[in-house]
Symmetry: C2
C-alpha cells in the first residue's frame, strides 16, 4: 500500500521540536492528541533499533499532553479516575496508571506525576482525557482547576541518556530514581525531569513549559550530544514490542478491561479505595479475565505493518488477534503483541498468524517482555 | 515545506470507504476522531471546487463519529451539553449545536440528530465528546447509555445530489427538508439520510451501520452516478471558506466562546433552559464578545497553507489572526477565515495579513458567508 500524506492544519498541532525534526529528515508522522508525532527518520527501523540500544536519542513526544488537576479536590479526582491505589503516592513520584470507565473499560494509560498534594499531571496517551476529567468534575461539583498546560514533553532515551542529560542539567540527574522526577533548573526556569520513557533502554522525559524553552532545551541537548552519537528518534516499534510496552488505541481500546491488558498489579481490588469502575472491575476479577495481552513470535519473512487486527488461530478456530507486529533483527523472527483468549495464552502455545499479506505463519505465544526462545 | 507521510496503525482507523478512496487516488489524509479523512484526489483544489459546484461528489466522512445518548436521561443530558434550546426539537430534525464547558468555552460543534424522544446522535467534530458525555453522566448519576455506534457517515454533496441519491434510495429523498432526516430503506436495512453536509452546495449525509453496508452504499451510489460525473471528494477548502463554514480546532478552540464564533443564534440566553456554562455565557453576553470570526479577502499571489494563526494588523497593531486561508478562483483573490478583535470586525475594514511566507498583504474584512466585493 502506498503511504499517504498527512496534511497539517492548525487543528493538528506542531510541537516546539517540529522544525528540528524536519531539518533532521523526519520521514513520517502519526497524530496523537491532535498533535504530530514523528515516526521515523533516515535510518531504517532496524538501524534505529540498534542505535537506541547503543547510544542516545532525542524524541519529540510533545503529543504526550498533560491533563493538569490542581486545587482542593485534585487528589480526590485523581483517585476516582484510576484503579491504582494512590494513597501512598508521594510528591516526586511517577505512577503508570490505567484509567477506566464505570464498566471498567480502558480509557487511557497515562503516567501520573504527583507535583504536590493538590497538583497532578496525567501524561496521557491518545484520547481527550481532559474532557473525561472535566465532565466528572462538573457532574460531581468538585472544586479544582483542570487544564492542558503549555507543556511539551521531550524524551531522551538510550543507554547514554544519563551522560547526555548530566552535561546539560548537572550530575544530580544521575540520582533520579526509576519512575521518579525532580525539578531541575534550565536557564533559570523550572524543568520537571522524570526517569521514564516509552522504551526499555533507560532515559528521561522532560517537561519544558512553552515553545521557546522547549526549543532551547532541544538545542542544548543536541549540541551536547555530538560525541555521544545523539540522533533524532521516536518510539521504536521493534524495541517496544520486544519490551512489551503497550500503546493505547493499538493493543487496548475501550473494548478491553485492565485485567485483560495484564495490568492487575495497578488495580486495587479489595474495595479499600473508591474509584469509578470498582464494582465492575471486582466482578471481572472474580471470574478472571476472558483474554490477555501476550507476545507472539512467528515465522516467515518480514511481515507487513498491522493496520487492522490479524486473526490468531489453532486448527482454524480463532483464539485471539495480533495488534502490532514487526520483524525483529534480534530474534531473527517476527514479533507481535496480541490478545489471546483464555485457555490459549500460556507461553509456548503454538498458534497460526494470518498476516495481512494473506500468508499463514507458525507462531509461539510468549511472556512479556519477551525473552530469547 | 515537504508534505510528510502519515503512518497508519490500528489506533488511527480506516473507514469502510478507505479501499475505495485509495483505488480512486486519494492524495492525502488528515486525522479526525482517531480516523482518517481524505483531503484530496487527483483534481487540483480549484478543479475540485468547480466540480463540487457543478456536479456531485461522494465524501468519505466516516470520521464524523456519533456519540449516541439513549435512555431515560438522554434528553436531559443532550440539553445540558448545549446552549441551543432543544425544547421544541422534533424527531427527524438535525440541529447544529455548539457544545461548551462550564466557562462557556467551545468544546465542539456537532449536528444533533434527534432519533426519538430518548435517543440522540451527536455527529461530532474532532474531540472525544464521548468522554465529556460519560463524565457528566457518571458524575451526575444519570440513567442512560452512551456509546459510539458502528455508524460510518458518507456524504453526497453538490447540485446533482438529489438526482443521484433518488436513483439509489427512491424519489422520497427529494422531500427531505433542509436539516431534516428520514429513515430510508437500503437493501432491507434502515438508513438515516439527512439533508446536511459540510458544503453549501446541497446534498445529504447518510449514516450506514457497519463496514459491509457502508461499502455497498458507496458502490451503489458510485455505479448510479457515472453519467452525473460523480467524483470522489472531501470538504473543499475554498468552498468552505467562502461559505463561512467553521472547522472546530481550526477556526475555534477551547480558547473561544460561542459568541466569539458568531453562534449567538444557537445560544438560549434568557435562562429558561438549564445547560452547563449558562451563567458564564450570560456574563459574556452582557458585555458582548471581545472578538468575532469574520472573513478576510486579501491581495497577492496564492497564499501558502495556514498551519499556525497569521497575525492581522492595522498600523502594526495586532487586531486579530487568520486561521484558514486559500486562493479563490471565484474572487481571484485569497480568502480567509479570521478572528477579529472588537472595534475591527466591521465589514470593509482594511487590515494587513502577515502570511506564513513572510509577505504582508492588504486585506478587507467581510461578512460570512462571503459576498462578491
Amino acid at each position: 500500500m502506498q503511504v499517504p500524506k498527512l496534511l497539517v492544519s492548525r487543528r493538528i498541532r506542531a510541537t516546539p521540536y517540529t522544525p528540528r525534526v524536519e531539518a533532521l529528515g523526519v520521514s513520517g508522522y502519526s497524530v496523537v492528541n491532535h498533535t504530530i508525532l514523528p515516526k521515523g527518520f533516515q535510518k531504517t527501523i532496524e538501524e534505529d533499533y540498534w542505535h537506541l540500544k547503543t547510544h542516545v536519542q532525542l524524541w519529540d513526544v510533545g503529543c504526550q499532553r498533560q491533563v493538569e488537576l490542581r486545587g482542593t479536590d485534585a487528589a480526590k479526582l485523581a483517585q476516582l479516575m484510576t484503579p491504582r491505589d494512590l494513597r501512598k503516592a508521594r510528591v516526586g513520584q511517577c505512577l503508570y496508571a490505567p484509567m477506566i470507565d464505570a464498566e471498567a473499560k480502558m480509557l487511557n494509560d497515562p503516567i501520573i506525576l504527583k507535583l504536590a498534594e493538590d497538583h497532578y499531571w496525567f501524561s496521557i496517551a491518545d484520547a481527550d482525557m481532559l474532557l473525561w476529567a472535566k465532565g466528572l468534575a462538573v457532574g460531581m461539583g468538585l472544586d479544582l482547576g483542570i487544564d492542558e498546560p503549555d507543556i511539551w514533553p521531550l524524551a531522551v532515551q538510550g543507554p547514554k541518556s544519563d551522560d547526555l542529560v548530566a552535561r546539560v542539567l548537572g550530575e544530580q540527574v544521575r540520582d533520579i530514581g526509576f519512575f521518579k522526577f525532580r525539578v531541575c533548573d534550565f536557564e533559570g526556569h523550572d524543568l520537571v525531569v522524570a526517569r521514564t520513557g516509552f522504551s526499555t533502554q533507560g532515559g528521561f522525559e522532560m517537561y519544558p513549559e512553552g515553545f521557546s524553552l522547549g526549543r532551547r532545551l532541544w538545542d542544548a541537548l543536541w549540541q551536547a550530544g555530538a560525541d555521544l552519537e545523539v540522533s533524532p528518534g521516536c518510539p521504536n516499534l521493534i524495541e517496544r514490542v520486544e519490551g512489551g510496552l503497550l500503546s493505547y488505541g493499538n493493543e487496548m481500546t475501550r473494548d478491553d478491561n485492565p485485567l485483560e491488558c495484564g495490568l492487575e498489579q495497578y488495580c486495587q481490588l479489595d474495595g479499600s479505595v473508591e474509584y469509578i469502575g470498582l464494582e465492575a472491575l471486582q466482578k471481572i476479577a472474580e471470574s478472571g479475565p476472558e483474554r490477555l495481552i501476550r507476545g507472539v513470535i512467528f515465522d516467515g519473512e518480514a511481515c507487513p505493518a498491522c493496520q487492522h487486527p490479524w486473526p490468531l488461530t489453532i486448527e482454524n478456530q480463532q483464539v485471539g488477534y495480533v495488534t502490532t507486529a514487526v520483524w525483529s533483527p534480534g530474534f531473527e523472527r517476527n514479533v507481535a503483541l496480541a490478545m489471546l483468549d483464555r485457555g490459549y495464552w500460556e507461553a509456548g502455545a503454538a498458534v497460526t498468524v494470518s498476516a495481512g499479506d494473506g500468508s499463514h505463519r507458525q507462531g509461539i505465544v510468549t511472556e512479556l517482555p519477551m525473552q530469547a526462545l
